[in-house]
């Protein structure tokens, strides 16, 4: 490349942006458009949009935290519930029930050691229903291959961020009663 051509190319590159990006390719004749239309959103406008997004994210975080803090001041009352069919549950099997409301599905498990354990049935990852895997004696989520400890509800593997919700149970006259529901990962 001669020095004249080189300087011409440099000048073209360093020249005004609109000049460099002129629509001169043959295919652009078939699909004509205005450069001004293409640049409808400027950097400045997009910065403004991101500022609005930042405000929305901050308000969302504050709203969630405020709602959770408000809910924590209310004492949740869980009515005792007799779990029907628990008495006849065989070792290494499970049954489903609803507690504390009809909307809250739960699973009662009679583990290999003969003890009863109950948990909320919603996986803490994306709320898929978990099931008891008898052969491995653990609770599993089929959606993303997560596993939970059958005694504690703790995450053994997979993507869930916290343990399953625990259902407090009591044995009364050979019957199993649900007495309360404790959120997974709740320290106190």
């Amino acid at each position: 490349m001669s020095s004249k051509n080189l300087s011409k190319t440099i000048e073209k590159v360093l020249s005004d942006e609109r000049e460099v990006r002129a629509a001169t390719a043959p295919y652009q004749a078939e699909f004509p458009y205005e450069r001004d239309d293409e640049a409808q959103v400027t950097r400045r406008e997009f910065c403004g949009f991101l500022a609005v997004t930042s405000t929305a994210l901050f308000l969302s975080a504050a709203g969630f935290a405020g709602k959770a803090a408000y809910d924590s001041t209310k004492i949740e009352a869980f009515p005792p519930l007799k779990i029907e069919g628990a008495k006849d549950l065989e070792i290494g099997s499970a049954l489903n029930f609803r507690y504390p409301t009809e909307m809250d599905t739960a699973i009662l498990i009679r583990a290999a050691n003969g003890n009863f354990y109950a948990f909320g049935q919603k996986c803490t990852h994306l709320s898929c229903p978990v099931y008891y895997a008898k052969e491995s004696d653990r609770i599993e989520c089929p959606c993303h291959e997560a596993g939970f400890d059958v005694k504690t509800g703790n995450v053994l593997y997979g993507p869930p961020p916290r343990p399953l919700d625990r259902i407090a149970i009591e044995m009364q006259n050979g019957e199993v009663w649900a007495m309360g529901r404790i959120a997974g990962g709740h320290e106190s």
């Binding site: 950097r43 930042s54 975080a61 504050a62 959120a183 709740h186």
Partner: protein, 78 residues
């Protein structure tokens, strides 16, 4: 270089500044998204002690983004 390209130089500088502001804003938004996800997780797990620091962190990010928008102006060339 001709006269037009000399005139366009300050514009290119301002474009670079807005590009930098844009990149910073995107990073702050990503951080705030992560903070929001952590806040939701903490709220669902009843980890109430974690909520206040997360909200404060999100607020600091928001203030930084506001400062980027309203106070970081390019100096005018005399």
């Amino acid at each position: 270089m001709n006269g037009d390209s000399n005139k366009s130089r300050p514009t290119r500088g301002i474009t670079a500044i807005f590009q930098a502001k844009l990149v910073l804003m995107v990073m702050i938004n990503l951080a705030q998204l992560w903070i929001l996800a952590a806040t939701i997780e903490a709220a669902l797990a009843r980890h109430y002690k974690e909520l206040a620091p997360l909200v404060v962190a999100s607020g600091v990010c928001w203030l930084i983004s506001l400062s980027i928008i309203f106070w970081w102006k390019p100096l005018r060339r005399r």
